[in-house]
Symmetry: C2
Subunit: 173 residues, 2 copies
DNA sequence: CGGCAGTGGTTACAATTGAAACCAATCTTA
DNA sequence: TAAGATTGGTTTCAATTGTAACCACTGCCG
């Protein structure tokens, strides 16, 4: 209940029988809204950069980012690592294979699984994208002080945890 | 199952400054990625809450949020206020009208424009949603200290500005 | 006036996304 | 070892979203 009430008079008590008018919602200060706008701006800019240079969507790029670090994953492993869902992974993978950016091989031990890896070409692209991605991040972070970066990191963790709770425990009532 | 590092050829052994291999990108620490996950989690939870109770999508709710504060806006005004695009607004508006949540009247001065307002019913709903939205925000913010809230506010502003630059000035090269 | 560029807003269509059904392989247990 | 339950992954179909074309009106300039 600590919504910073920048409204002139915030006397909760001082409201007689008059129709109880709720405070207006100031969308431009509403965290979920701001997060959404910020995230979209950032994502769109970066998506443009990736697709202009490498013909990669963000989901596809994410898959490559993970495979670059952790070879021999299955699609299910990717789901776990990326917070993307099954279907998105499946689609990204199939595009990446079509582009010869990754390879898919059967897992002999479990013939349902398919082991994914960057191809030569894929690793090549990976190694060119990583710096690009880092450049974007550095540019963003460049607008923050060292302190602010630390703060942001920890704040995001906390918000993430809380939002995760919502998903688990169900909605607020 | 963290996999074995199968990078035979890329001269691991040559630790000297022969940095052939770029640092891996740690997706889970990559700001654009984290923002996206956080924003999606938050938005989805809230979207569920709105739609479960009021059959409102987020775009529609945003339109109502703005109209609640600023009556007599046109669709173009809404575009400006919400950072949503023309089409999204148009669609949200048409749904809201169908639901009798808002009214649309001709602007006599300029017959292209249409003046939008919450209807009685709409204001009713608005007044019930605002607290709900605030509850979600408070719950999120509840995981942060007062300091952190201030910090977050200012950090978001900075990031937003930087991301905005990207859109204006074109991509990083 | 008459033409034409610019605005407000909607429509049409393509691309993206999500939910659920689905197939195939594996694991369980009996 | 066969039946059912589970897991890995893809396909299908509907809903959402983005882009571009579009219509109606206004405003401007000749």
């Amino acid at each position: 209940m600590t919504t910073d009430n920048t409204q002139s008079e915030t006397s909760d008590l001082a409201n007689p029988s008059e129709a109880v008018r709720p405070d207006d919602l100031r969308l431009e200060k509403f965290l979920p809204y701001r997060l959404s706008v910020l995230s979209n701006r950032v994502s769109n800019a970066i998506a443009d950069a990736y697709s202009a240079r490498f013909d990669l969507t963000i989901p596809a790029w994410r898959v490559m980012a993970i495979l670059g670090r952790f070879p021999n994953l299955s699609a299910a492993d990717l789901v776990e690592q990326t917070a993307m869902d099954k279907v998105a992974i499946s689609r990204a993978v199939s595009i990446l294979i079509k582009n010869d950016y990754i390879t898919r091989s059967e897992d002999l031990a479990d013939r349902r699984r398919q082991v994914l890896n960057l191809s030569e070409l894929g690793r090549d692209v990976y190694e060119r994208i990583v710096p690009l991605a880092q450049q974007y991040e550095n540019d963003l972070m460049g607008s923050l002080s060292t302190d602010e970066r630390r703060q942001l990191d920890s704040i995001i963790e906390k918000l993430m945890a809380r939002a995760q709770d919502w998903a688990n425990r169900g909605l607020i009532d």
